[in-house]
């Protein structure tokens, strides 16, 4: 397992290297010269210009520039953003990355769960009304024009019903008197969320491995108590109302992203289930007289899960693209919106930086799926 992880990490580094190379040469291939474009930008003071010219080697030949670019990228020097002038690109991205991660991970987890559950159900009762309804609505949502769908959600839930805020990350009116910054509150929220997930996994792991019959029913109450304790603890802290404000802004983008991405998993699970349901072991399980639910969940669905996880990579990439669009529509200041703004304002260093980070993000997702696969399929043990 460790050897496999090391190999994957090596491959990832190579892929990242290729992505950085690709972005460098794409920028070089564009009409006009990047070097002059960068250094002649009138927004920059003369001394900054000279410093940039020197640090990026913009007066040197292309191959030397490439080497300098590589060195800069891998030491974390992405240059200075034009749009957010004095701030370095890395600084802007470090602020935005967690926001995208939360949006993306939550939506992916929820949509995977919902998609798998529905796919299982519609394959099991083939030809029912549920199948037609789920297939058509799923495919419609899957292929729905994401921006228009996002705007429709805003119109319904924010304008007509007024339940949720229209977009953006926070409400300035709520934050006017606040003494802490949004990033501060948000990082506390992240830590809480991560701690809760870790706790839930530990509980699950502990009770599964302890092997005592009768302890398994404790899993759900313990996790539920923890889940209830968190909001109470936040409510008593003095930044609780600020966290609530961020949370309220998060709901609509996450729901929208979930709705557009669950169908892929659902339709795939359906296909995979249909194949598994013909296997002999499913018939054997039925012949043993096991209840339908056990046959479906423990025998058929468990095996149908594998190809779905394999293609999770595709749906993750789909969700990354989806979150770029959703962020643009909801003005959620994450990586996607940074990329869009940078593209619109021709902020090239920021464009390149965000592209590298989005690439890194999808590579990480790739590796996580691989590791998950090893865990799920005992037949595969990577050497």
């Amino acid at each position: 397992m460790t050897g496999y992880l090391a190999k994957r990490a090596g491959q990832m580094a190579l892929t990242l290297f290729l992505i950085v190379t690709l972005t460098f040469f794409l920028v070089q291939a564009q009409p006009g010269d990047y070097a002059t474009f960068y250094a002649l930008n009138p927004d920059l003071p003369a001394e900054v210009r000279a410093q940039i010219k020197e640090s990026f080697g913009l007066d040197k030949p292309l191959w030397q520039q490439y080497l300098v670019h590589m060195k800069n990228t891998f030491t974390g020097n992405f240059g200075v953003s034009f749009g957010h002038f004095p701030r370095p690109v890395l600084d802007v991205l470090a602020e935005r990355l967690p926001r995208t991660a939360v949006l993306f991970l939550t939506a992916t987890a929820v949509s995977f769960y919902v998609g798998f559950f529905l796919g299982k159900a519609i394959a099991w009762r083939r030809g029912g009304v549920l199948e037609y309804a789920a297939t058509i609505s799923g495919a419609t949502l899957f292929t729905a024009f994401t921006p228009a769908f996002g705007l429709m959600m805003i119109w319904i839930f924010a304008f007509k019903l007024g339940w949720l805020p229209v977009g953006k990350f926070l409400d300035p009116l709520v934050w006017r008197g606040a003494e802490v910054s949004a990033n501060h509150v948000f990082s506390y929220m992240l830590v809480t969320g991560a701690a809760f997930i870790a706790f839930a996994f530990l509980v699950l792991f502990f009770f599964r491995r302890s092997g005592r019959i009768g302890s398994a029913p404790l899993v759900r109450p313990v996790i539920a108590v923890a889940a209830l304790a968190i909001p109470v603890a936040w409510a008593f802290s003095d930044i609780g109302y600020l966290a609530l404000d961020i949370l309220r802004h998060m709901i609509l983008p996450i729901v929208t992203l979930t709705l557009i991405s669950f169908a892929g998993t659902m339709l795939l699970t359906r296909n995979s289930m249909l194949e598994t349901m013909r296997e002999d072991y499913v018939m054997a399980a039925r012949a043993k007289g096991l209840p339908e639910k056990v046959v479906r969940d423990r025998h058929a669905a468990r095996n149908a899960l594998l190809p779905v996880v394999t293609s999770l990579v595709y749906s993750l990439i789909f969700a990354i693209d989806g979150s770029v669009i959703i962020e643009g529509v909801f003005s959620w200041p994450g990586m996607g919106m940074t990329l869009l703004d940078a593209v619109r304002s021709e902020d090239l260093p920021l464009v390149m930086g965000s592209m590298v980070f989005i690439g890194l993000f999808s590579l990480l997702a790739h590796v996580i799926v691989d590791v998950l696969y090893v865990y799920l399929d005992p037949r595969i043990r990577y050497q």
Partner: protein, 337 residues
Amino acid sequence: MISPQSDQQNFSREPPGIPESPLVDLHPGRWQMALARARLALRSFRGGWAIFVESRIGVLSLATIVLFALMAISHPILMATVWDAEVYDPVTGYAFDRLDHPAPPNWRHPLGTDPLGRDVLSQLLSSTRSEFVLGITAALVTVGIATTVGAVAAYYGGLVDALFMRLADLIIALPGISLLIVLSALFRLNLFYLALIIGILGGFGGTAIILKSQALSIRVKPYIEAARVAGGGHFHIIFVHIIPNLLPLSLLYMMFTVTGAIFAEAVLSFLGLLDLRMSWGIMIHTANTGGYLLGGTRYWWLIIPAGASITFLCSAFYLVGRALDEVVNPRLRRHTS
């Protein structure tokens, strides 16, 4: 009853009694082979069609695609006959008969006009054509590349295979829309370049992997070995024996590529990043920059026709693809035939 021996004799001997003539060719000629092949193809098409028709969703989606194709054809006809170019041109037209742009639907403009006074129906119809051009170009490029790459990688294996598959892994790892957004910042993308880029990304990416795995199962079939024994070259085996057997699966992935291409175009146009005359995405972009999108249903003719067209055409191609999947992949069928 004919013994196998005499059968063989008949084949090995020249047919007796008939003089050699350049006009009468007794060996199964090229066109006869082609005819037999065509008959076989027709039969398998009929069999496939019978399975396809069983899926009601697939038939409905095919009808939707045909409807959109008719819409695409109708635009040049309407422009040439009833519609005056000064009023109805999708980009430069102006509806002089109204002052309240965006005007609601009326007799002269069945879907109303947009904020700049252009006829929405005309825009919708003219965009349909470019969506088809885009989708089909991208799909052809994808499938052309993916089929060749898949067959070549499966046939040669080794280094060629490793190179193409690592390249495919790299492309899969890149989020396509984000990459296109970056490209649109650097280059001026028009319909043709966009189709080409989407096609190349798809062709060297995921589709190549799927077609390669199919080609691997074809490569070990006895007839490939027979072809090699008979002296067929690499090129001959790849293009005559492997690729034709990949085509059903290629057709399936063409459908999915069309969906992806139309969707990508719409998103990029909506964000205002493409260099196109008119498209469904641009129609929504125009409505959005004018601030009409958050008017909800009040200005429905600016949003719903274009948005619904994108959704319906994308999902129609997608669902036809899924119905074809049941034809190509027998394990998904309801009845074992």
